[in-house]
């Protein structure tokens, strides 16, 4: 497979684009691998990619029950940011941001990463103080953040209701200029292609149905396409983390699965050239390159594996959007969909060893998994390759709940629907 470049683009254009090769192979599973990654989402693919690139390990299979890009990787609102306050999160997500900034070059695949800025609106002086605190914490850690006053918000987001008589008048906000959006499918495809080029087998339509465990040690997986032996197994399956780990004998996890909906409108002319989040309710909105407004808000609020949402949240999200941008009233909704989030009890992910030897877990991403894709893969690869977490994910252990080292960015306690 050749590298993508202007020359092979021109060459393929001249032959009518009939000779493009598939971006990754579809191999039959081999009887054994050094490492098997369960879950071919962004995190699993990134893990395989960095195992190959950073650790020189290539005898790897990524096993996916559906197809690449069919899970939460294709269901998010594509927002990338690293505006966290607690040190574990700040450093982890900032490392992710640095990987995002070089991703297209690194993968030789255009992920359309657009650093258009992420603006969080403030509606009370107290919120402005909280943003100043968070922004300062970020800047001390080397992350970019700026506090914006009311006039600057009005200048950057012309569609916003800036009226002093608004239900929740806007008093200012915080911006992370390096935040933005990326083309989510391209990220999945780019990592799949990058891993495949380095020799990783990506096996789609292959469901893991059990683990082979011998004396407290994982030695392979059972799948719908036969048994596969492995020296190490990494699990990165998002919403079904509890179910997959139960097959490995871990009965309970500090995780509940919840449903999050996302929405896209019909395409319109350029209206929002940044990412804006509402501070008086819960809404985040941006405009895709095709012109559709992409937005989302709260989760449905109760355990769900349904992959489709209920009406009250649609109404809530629509009313938040209208409150912020009254000019959206006539815009029609094109599509909406749902994804299953593995909500951890403290709102922070888990990239960790497990009680089963050689079995590693990557989960609990709540609804922040997309932006974490590169850092998650990078840290999980390190954890699997060396058997120990990297400094960047040392706090994201599975046993932190038991030991009292939870990382609760929002400070709401062990109530997953509130994170």
């Amino acid at each position: 497979m050749s590298r993508y470049s202007i020359f092979n683009l021109v060459g393929n254009a001249l032959s009518g684009h009939k000779n493009w090769k598939e971006a990754w192979r579809s191999p039959e599973p081999k009887p054994s691998y050094d490492i098997v990654i369960v879950g071919g989402g962004g995190h699993g693919l990134a893990t395989a990619y960095y195992l190959a690139k950073e650790h020189g390990l290539t005898n790897i299979a990524v096993i996916e029950k559906g197809w690449i890009g069919g899970g939460n990787m294709g269901r998010n609102t594509t927002i990338v940011r690293s505006n966290y306050m607690l040190p574990e999160n700040t450093h982890f997500y900032e490392w992710g941001m640095k990987l995002w900034e070089t991703m297209s070059q690194d993968l030789n695949y255009n992920v359309m990463f657009s650093q258009r800025g992420v603006i969080n609106l403030a509606h009370t002086p107290g919120q402005m103080d909280a943003f100043a605190r968070r922004g300062n914490a970020m800047r001390l850690a080397g992350v970019d953040a700026e506090l914006l006053d009311r006039d600057e918000i009005a200048r950057r987001c012309p569609g916003l209701d800036m009226s002093p008589n608004a239900r929740f008048p806007i008093v200012g906000g915080m911006c992370q200029p390096r935040g933005g959006t990326a083309r989510h499918d391209a990220v999945a495809w780019g990592y799949a292609r990058g891993a495949d080029l380095r020799g990783v087998d990506i096996i789609e339509n292959c469901e893991v149905t059990g683990f082979k465990i011998d004396g407290g040690k994982v030695v392979g997986v059972e799948t719908s396409r036969g048994d596969i032996l492995a020296k190490k197994v990494g699990v990165a399956v998002a919403g079904h983390t509890s179910q997959v780990m139960q097959m490995a004998g871990i009965e309970r996890l500090p995780i509940e699965s919840h449903l999050l909906q996302a929405f896209v409108s019909e395409p319109v002319k350029p209206l929002i050239d940044t990412v804006v989040t509402f501070g008086a309710g819960h809404l985040y909105i941006s405009q895709s390159n095709k012109g559709g407004l992409v937005f989302g808000g709260d989760m449905d609020g109760y355990n769900s594996f349904a992959q489709r949402g209920n009406i009250p949240v649609i109404e809530d999200v629509a009313s938040c959007a209208m409150t912020m941008f009254p000019n959206l009233g006539k815009i029609r909704l094109l599509r909406h969909w749902g994804g299953i989030m593995d909500m951890s009890m403290d709102g922070t992910p888990i990239i960790s060893k497990t009680p089963v030897e050689n079995l590693f877990l990557n989960g609990g991403w709540c609804y922040g998994g997309f932006k974490a894709t590169p850092a998650s893969g990078w840290c999980f690869a390190h954890t699997i390759a060396t058997g120990e977490p990297h400094e960047l994910n040392a706090g994201f252990t599975l046993d932190r709940f038991e030991k009292g080292y939870t990382i609760d960015e929002k400070g709401v306690g062990p109530v997953p629907r509130l994170h």
């Binding site: 079904h240 509890s242 309970r252 509940e256 699965s257 594996f305 349904a306 009250p312 629907r417």
Partner: protein, 91 residues
Amino acid sequence: MQIDCPFCGKRDQSEFTYSGDATKKRPDHNDQDPQAWFDYVYQRDNPKGAHQEYWHHTSGCRQFLVVERNTMTHKISSVQAVGDLNKGSAE
């Protein structure tokens, strides 16, 4: 989704507040086993299928209910008042 409240009848889901897994039993206040508290506070079965859960009828009778709902289909198979069940505790 509608929940058939034993006190108020069938009401829209938006009248209720979800309060989590109802199978969790709070350990005795004098229980000093950290494992029991860890299990109660953090660990969840998180079933894909039948789930027993608390719902608070916030905009109705303000009673706590125990609802058995399928997490894949949202089909509700039973609704009971908390008082009608053995001692449990809400969030």
